[in-house]
């Protein structure tokens, strides 16, 4: 996140999440810490997947022969095997990697494009601004999953391998997110650009790109960490949704929870629970962790919702006046 690097307190204390962590108390701190722990655990699992996963994500056999389909949990397969004969535990662990990659690519792309468009549109104004706003509003109002489906068709024609699949999913998610960053940054930029310091910069002959990047952008990014966390959770859900509708990543390409859930729909009706519960819980847990972080950041950013260390009682005279 862009941070202003000059100032009083140390940089570490003013980093977005660290600052809020120090600011929070009680229940809010509990929620933030829980969220951070879950998110950290998820990132760790994703990074260490090759080491922790007992088998590969597309492994069907070991030295003892085929795993067999729909084996119940226990023995060599702690969480059982899927209808396709994969090890559930390994697919769940490898799935974390896929999810993390897709989120990172999607967020980086959408922040970059969304912020750029918002900055240019908000700063320059005029007809370009109007056209972009109408387009962003139209896209924003539309069901994001449907948009992601269209994007997935365009990018991969619907079927995909490992990197191609992750990239396709990430780009599909990006298309959905750009309008959100665009709107937020544009609103901030049109507020900031009328401030005196921007005017001053213009007066002394600073070039427009430099004003945009140094003066306006730096002062327009305060809400970004919040949207970032909320979008990460939305990205996981969109990726899983695409996978569930059959637009995910082929099982031989990478492990993807939405795909596994899609294949488990028939299992559920016959009482086979382990193929759906575990990938599903993985999604829930991660979205929960990231959302807890986002929610806490949101509350801490909003003075109405922030729990204070000491509650300030309402002035007695206002109550008396209003009671008249």
């Amino acid at each position: 996140m862009p941070e202003v690097r000059t100032g009083r307190a140390s940089l570490w204390r003013r980093l977005p999440v660290v600052r809020e962590l120090r600011q929070s108390v009680g229940l809010q701190r509990g929620m933030l810490v829980t969220g951070l722990v879950i998110t950290g655990f998820f990132v760790l699992v994703a990074l260490l997947a090759p080491l922790i996963a007992p088998y590969g994500y597309s492994q069907l056999r070991d030295e003892n022969g085929l795993f067999g389909a729909q084996q119940p949990p226990g023995g060599a397969h702690l969480l059982g095997t899927t209808v396709g004969g994969y090890d559930v535990l390994s697919r769940v662990i490898w799935g974390a990697q896929t999810a993390l990659l897709a989120i990172v690519v999607a967020i980086v792309l959408s922040v970059f494009l969304g912020v750029l468009l918002g900055l240019v549109s908000g700063y320059l104004g005029g007809w370009l601004d109007r056209v972009l706003v109408v387009i962003a509003d139209a896209v924003y109002a539309f069901p994001s999953l449907l948009l992601a489906i269209v994007a997935a068709i365009v990018i991969s024609g619907g079927q995909s391998g490992q990197w191609q699949g992750i990239l396709a999913a990430a780009i599909s998610i990006t298309v959905v997110f750009i309008p959100q960053y665009f709107r937020v940054v544009r609103a901030e930029v049109s507020r900031v650009k009328s401030e005196a310091f921007v005017e001053s910069a213009r007066v002394i002959g600073t070039s427009a790109p430099r004003i945009m990047l140094r003066h306006v952008l730096r002062n327009s990014t305060r809400t970004l960490p919040l949207i970032l966390t909320l979008n990460s959770s939305e990205a996981i859900l969109t990726l899983a949704g695409l996978g569930f509708l059959g637009f995910g990543i082929e099982p031989t390409g990478a492990a993807e929870w939405g795909y596994d859930l899609n294949r488990s729909v028939a299992d559920v009706s016959s009482g086979i629970w382990w193929t759906s519960i575990f990938p599903g819980l993985a999604i829930v847990l991660i979205v929960l962790g990231v959302t807890l972080v986002g929610e806490s950041l949101n509350d801490l950013a909003d003075p109405r919702l922030r729990t204070r260390r000491r509650a300030a009682p309402a002035p007695a005279e206002t109550i008396a006046e209003a009671a008249e």
């Binding site: 896209v139 539309f142 449907l146 899983a240 569930f244 559920v268 999604i283 309402a314 206002t318």
Partner: protein, 353 residues
């Protein structure tokens, strides 16, 4: 938002409300136009729909002939203009794989999606609003913590996983509710005998006057309604909580309390009423989310609605059908957003500037 686009001085002849509504109504057109254009050009960058749908089943010559007959070898701009013209006259195209007009799909499956969305909204209101008020009132105490975690869980659970879980517990393990579908075979037959059916099973079942049919339809609705509704319930809960916290701190609430108004009344009237306005506006965005969620819920429960059809044509790679259904949904979303704006303006005069 969009109202900034039209910022002309108010005229005396036209009331603020009417002007506002006219502007909102006219904004439907660019919204639909942009989405339709976007979807058209995006979909066509993948090549022509005939090859996508039938490429592996026809010989190259047959393929060429089909492409030529359908006019997909003409300049793209020409096709686009023709497509716009068709949409304008209410023709959303015909599916490639089975030759059904998209509008016919809407007519036969739209009511199912509408019914599902209705059940989901009922769940969302009944669960989300009272719990949100409670959480806001007991702010930062343990019930608030529990409810907030519930709200986040409701959001964090993908609708299809919630659906699978509910199915597993209530249909497969406990055997109290049906696994999937909109009604048992017997009910479906009963309902098909209704003259001029609405397609909304609940209404049709009530019209048959057959209590067991009504019960059966409702039993089938519980799990899909819950799966889709809980997601929205979580959002409502959070929204009501935040807004009630805001209004509970106002002076008129303290004033009410000092007059001896009961805490229940303070919460449900004084604090909740003004908190309703942001909720109404958010419902507009929820409609879009409900439609997206409906696609997933319908697939999970084999609920034969628009979303189920969309998923079916997706799996068949029939992109004309996909494009048609998506364009149709764009119109539905734009129109519902207009209606929501209308309701918001009727409730809160501050909206209509």
């Amino acid at each position: 938002m969009t109202q900034a686009v039209v910022a002309a001085p108010r005229r005396s002849g036209l009331g603020g409300l009417w002007r506002y509504l006219l502007v909102r109504f006219l904004l439907i057109i660019p919204t639909v136009f942009i989405l339709v254009t976007l979807v058209f050009f995006l979909m066509r960058t993948t090549g022509d729909p005939i090859t996508a749908a039938l490429g592996d089943r026809l010989t190259p010559d047959q393929l060429q002939q089909r492409i030529h007959e359908a006019g997909y070898d003409r300049p793209l701009l020409l096709q686009y203009l023709e497509y716009l013209g068709q949409i304008f006259t209410g023709n959303f195209g015909t599916t490639i794989t089975d030759g059904r007009p998209i509008t016919e799909i809407l007519a036969s499956y739209g009511s199912a999606t509408l019914e599902l969305a209705f059940y989901a909204l009922v769940v969302a209101f009944v669960v989300g609003i009272p719990l949100g008020m409670l959480a806001g009132y007991l702010r930062d105490r343990w019930p608030d913590a529990v409810l907030r975690v519930f709200a986040i869980l409701a959001y964090a659970t993908p609708v299809f996983f919630a659906g699978l879980l509910l199915k597993l517990v209530f249909a497969v393990w406990l055997h109290v509710l049906p696994v999937s579908g909109r009604g048992s075979t017997r009910t479906e037959i009963d309902l098909s005998r209704v003259d001029s059916p609405t397609g909304v099973y609940l209404i049709d079942a009530i019209r048959t006057g057959n209590a067991s049919a009504v019960g059966d339809v409702l039993a089938h609705a519980v799990l899909p309604g819950l799966a889709l509704g809980l997601l929205t319930a979580g959002i409502f809960l959070r929204l009501v909580r935040t807004n009630v916290i805001g209004t509970l701190g106002r002076e008129y609430v303290d004033a009410g309390r000092s007059r001896g108004v009961s805490e229940f009344r303070l919460l449900t009237r004084h604090a909740f009423r003004p908190a309703l306005i942001p909720i109404v506006t958010v419902i507009g965005l929820q409609v879009a989310m409900l439609l997206g969620g409906a696609v997933l819920t319908e697939t999970t429960f084999e609920w034969k609605g628009l979303g189920f059809e969309l998923a079916y044509y997706l799996s068949k790679r029939d992109f004309v059908a996909v494009q048609g259904i998506v364009a149709l949904l764009a119109v539905i979303v734009a129109v519902t957003n207009f209606i929501v704006d209308l309701v918001a303006a009727a409730i809160d005069p501050r909206v209509r500037y």
